[in-house]
């Protein structure tokens, strides 16, 4: 594992005239759990979509485990979990996982789907249509779907949106548990209180730039809130 999980050099993304990200330099070692924070419109989701290969950079370079982002081999490394669940309501839970497994060319999609259902505590509803699931169950299934091909980089885009307190807490525990397997995780969130639990490194993005990088103790909620206030309200 010599190549960093993610390496960005002078990464820029413009939408027409608007600049979403400017000159981002970033290197993330495999196994890092990174939180990306920042006010609305700071470019957090854009960064995630670039890493996922869903959008192309306007300038600069971006590599996932040494492969240019967006190439099929780079996409194969990525698992995407977002507040939108990406589930098909007509398909059952198991079929949703089967579809995702086949899409990614998983060797035995059936066995993999069953294992993931077991792990997510969804076996009892495996044959029920995903459209009938509660938000919390759908989110658990969505996480299983994102992990079906055992990706080395997991992207989480505001996963807590729309969850009640207890569901959010369970999700948070589940995400912390995922780290047992050595994966790189990038989580975009507004929920500063959960950062310390979910990440060991954080980026504060403001207006498309990395305004602050935080590690270790700085991720505890009070320190984080102070840093947030400094970069978003301070004279920039």
């Amino acid at each position: 594992m010599s190549a960093p999980a993610i390496r960005a050099r002078g990464l820029e993304k413009r939408f027409g005239r608007a600049v979403a990200l400017r000159r981002i330099d970033l290197e993330i070692a495999p196994g890092t759990r990174l939180a990306v924070l920042g006010p609305n419109g700071a470019g957090k989701s854009t960064l995630l979509r670039l890493v996922a290969g869903l959008a192309r950079p306007s300038a600069g370079s971006l590599e996932i485990a040494g492969v240019v982002a967006g190439k099929p081999a780079a996409r194969a490394q990525i698992g995407l979990i977002a507040h939108a669940t990406f589930l098909y309501p007509q398909l059952t839970a198991r079929e949703n996982l089967l579809f995702a497994g086949r899409l990614h060319g998983v060797a035995d999609p059936g066995a993999r789907a069953d294992a993931l259902l077991e792990e997510s505590d969804l076996t009892h509803v495996a044959h029920r249509a995903a459209g009938a699931f509660s938000r919390g169950m759908a989110q658990r299934l969505a996480i299983a779907r994102g992990l079906v091909h055992d990706p080395s980089v997991v992207l989480l885009d505001e996963p807590f949106t729309g969850l009640d307190r207890s569901a959010a807490q369970k999700l948070s525990e589940r995400l912390a548990g995922l780290h047992a397997a050595p994966r790189t995780q990038i989580v975009v969130t507004h929920d500063l209180g959960r950062v310390a639990q979910l990440a060991d490194r954080a980026l504060l993005l403001v207006a498309g730039r990395i305004a602050r990088e935080l590690r270790g103790e700085e991720l505890e909620t009070p320190a984080l809130e102070r840093a947030w206030a400094e970069v978003t309200e301070g004279p920039l």
């Binding site: 996922a52 081999a73 669940t85 098909y88 007509q90 398909l91 086949r102 899409l103 060319g105 779907r145």
Partner: protein, 221 residues
Amino acid sequence: MNVLLAVLWKDLVSEWRSRDRLIAMLVFSLLVVLVFHFALPGGATPRNAQHAPGLLWIAFVFSALLGLGRAFQIELENDALAILALAPADRGWVFLGKALANLVILSLVQAVVASVFAIVFELPILAVAAPLAGVVLLGSLGLCAVGTFFSAMSVRTRFSEMMLPVLVIPPLVPVLSAAVSATAELLRGGEVTFSSVQLLVVADLIYWIVGFVLFEYVLDE
């Protein structure tokens, strides 16, 4: 290839569960037949039988447009376009899977509509069932390729229901003209001339290849 099969399987299974697209297409195309009855009164007159091939294809195109508009709307509703775009293979395979699923659904509708047409206009389709099915398949291949391709675009524009026919019909002109003339030749009881089939095959090949190659740019954000 597994992406193609996965998308095809997924689309057909979810369509089978709800059947909403299939039923809507069927009802709509039967309504179109009803409208033809009022537009061309007299039932099975020789003159109306002469118009039948063209009318049949109008019914096919209308119902196809209705179904194709939904093809990517489904992905958009589930926000699942991103998942398809993330599949670790050339995005052209997603196009092939979606287009084949549309072809299967459209063919089911066409079988029913053609039978109803044959009854209403007293067309001798049973005698030419096999070659007619072949011609319809060739025409539908072009229709589904062009339609699927532009449906992925139009769902992400404003007024998507209006944009789809505007985008789809002009490129279909060569396909439709060849399909209609071949159908007419068959129903007249004759042989299909090689030139219509040749044009259909060439146009189908072009559209499926172009769709495969350029879909990358359509599926991007």
